[in-house]
Symmetry: C2
Subunit: 206 residues, 2 copies
C-alpha cells in the first residue's frame, strides 16, 4: 500500500501489529479516528499508555490488578485454601460471572505450548507449587482449556503436587447446557458418559 | 463484564468504541499489549496521537496529506484538468495502484447519506463546483461506490456542473475481471450488456 501520508502509514503499521488486525482494518480504524474529535484519540492513547505502565499483577494470584494484592485475594470471606488454576484474567472474569466459586484463583499467564515457545518457566507454576509445599492449600481445581496445551499444563503441575495431601480436580467436561446431543463430538460425549452424575445431584448449582 | 482493574476497564472501553471492535476483542487486544514490551504500547499511542493532531488535508483535493498541497496535486506531470471524484483516501490509494490514471483527485470525504445524517454541506462538494465554475476543469470522472448513496451523490454534483462545458463520466460497472457470469447479479449483468465495449477496445488498458 502507498500511503499519501507518513503519519497515517506509521499509525496503520503500529495498529496492524495487533493480533487479528490487518492493514486494511487498521486503515479503516484510522479513518474513523480522523473523523472523530481529537479528544477521542487522546483518550484512547492515554488509556493505552496508562494501562501498560501502571497496571500491576497481584503478588499472590498473579491476576491483573490495580493493587499489590487483588480484591479477590484480599477478601476474608473467600476460602483461601481452595485454589482454582486458570490461564488468564478472562477465565477469572468468566468464573466470577458464575458466582459459584468462593475460593481464590491462581493465574498461570498462559499454557505450556512448545510450538509457541512457551515453557513451564515462563508461567507462574513455581509459586503455585510453593503454596502447596507450604501447606497453604487444601484443594486445587484445574480450570484450563480442554486442549492439548491445557492438558499438558494440568499434568505438569499435577505431577509436582500429587504427593502432597490435597484434593485435586478438573472442571467437568461434557455437553454444554442448551446443546443438542447429535452435534456433540464423540470425545465430549464419551467423557460425559463416563463421568455421569447421580440424577439427584444433576441440577444442583452449588 | 466485571474487570479486576480500572485501568484495564478504561482501555477496553476506549478501544471498543472503534467500529467493529467489541468488548471481547478489545480485551484480547489489551492482554496482547500487556504481554508485549512497554515500548510497543508507547509507539502505538504516539503514532495515534501524532496522526490525529499533525495530519493535514490537501487544500486542493482534500486528501489526507503531510503537506499543504499533496504530492499528486503538486506533480506537474499530472493532468490538472481531469478530476476523479472519490469518497476517501482508500479510493485514491486503490486507483493509484492501477497506475492508469494521470489526472488529479477530489476527495469528498464521504457520500450523501441522510440515514447517517450526512448532507451535502458536510462534504467537500462546493470546492469542486467552484473549480468547474472557474474553468479549471475539462473532465470529471465520478468514481464513487455503486450504491444508493454513491448514486445520490453523483447526481447531486452532476446537476450543479452539467451546464458547464465539461466532459463527465462514471467508471464502468460490469462483471469484475476473473468473475464467473453465473454468479453475477442481474443489475450488474444488465449494465454490462447495455454498456458493452467494441471488441477491439475491450482488452486495452489505457
Amino acid at each position: 500500500m502507498e500511503f499519501p501520508s507518513k503519519l497515517l502509514e506509521k499509525a496503520v503499521e503500529e495498529v496492524s501489529q495487533l493480533p487479528g488486525i490487518g492493514k486494511r482494518t487498521a486503515l479503516r480504524l484510522m479513518l474513523h479516528l480522523l473523523k472523530q474529535s481529537e479528544e477521542q484519540t487522546m483518550h484512547l492513547a492515554t488509556a493505552l499508555t496508562k494501562m501498560r505502565t501502571d497496571i500491576i499483577f497481584c503478588t499472590s494470584c498473579h491476576n491483573i490488578s490495580d493493587k499489590e494484592v487483588c480484591d479477590i485475594c484480599e477478601n476474608p470471606l473467600r476460602d483461601h485454601r481452595t485454589i482454582c488454576v486458570v490461564e488468564d484474567v478472562r477465565d477469572v472474569m468468566a468464573l466470577e460471572n458464575t458466582q459459584l466459586f468462593k475460593g481464590i484463583y491462581h493465574v498461570l499467564g498462559g499454557k505450556i505450548s512448545p510450538i509457541d515457545g512457551i515453557g513451564p518457566s515462563q508461567l507462574k507454576i513455581q509459586s503455585l507449587v510453593d503454596k502447596v509445599k507450604n501447606g497453604e492449600v487444601s484443594e486445587i481445581i484445574f480450570a484450563l482449556s480442554s486442549t492439548m496445551e491445557g492438558d499438558t499444563t494440568n499434568f505438569y503441575i499435577y505431577k509436582q503436587i500429587k504427593d502432597y495431601n490435597i484434593i485435586t480436580s478438573t472442571i467437568a467436561r461434557g455437553i454444554a447446557v442448551g446443546d443438542e446431543l447429535e452435534y456433540a463430538d464423540e470425545v465430549t460425549l464419551g467423557r460425559s458418559l463416563v463421568h455421569r452424575v447421580p440424577f439427584e445431584n444433576a441440577f444442583k448449582t452449588i
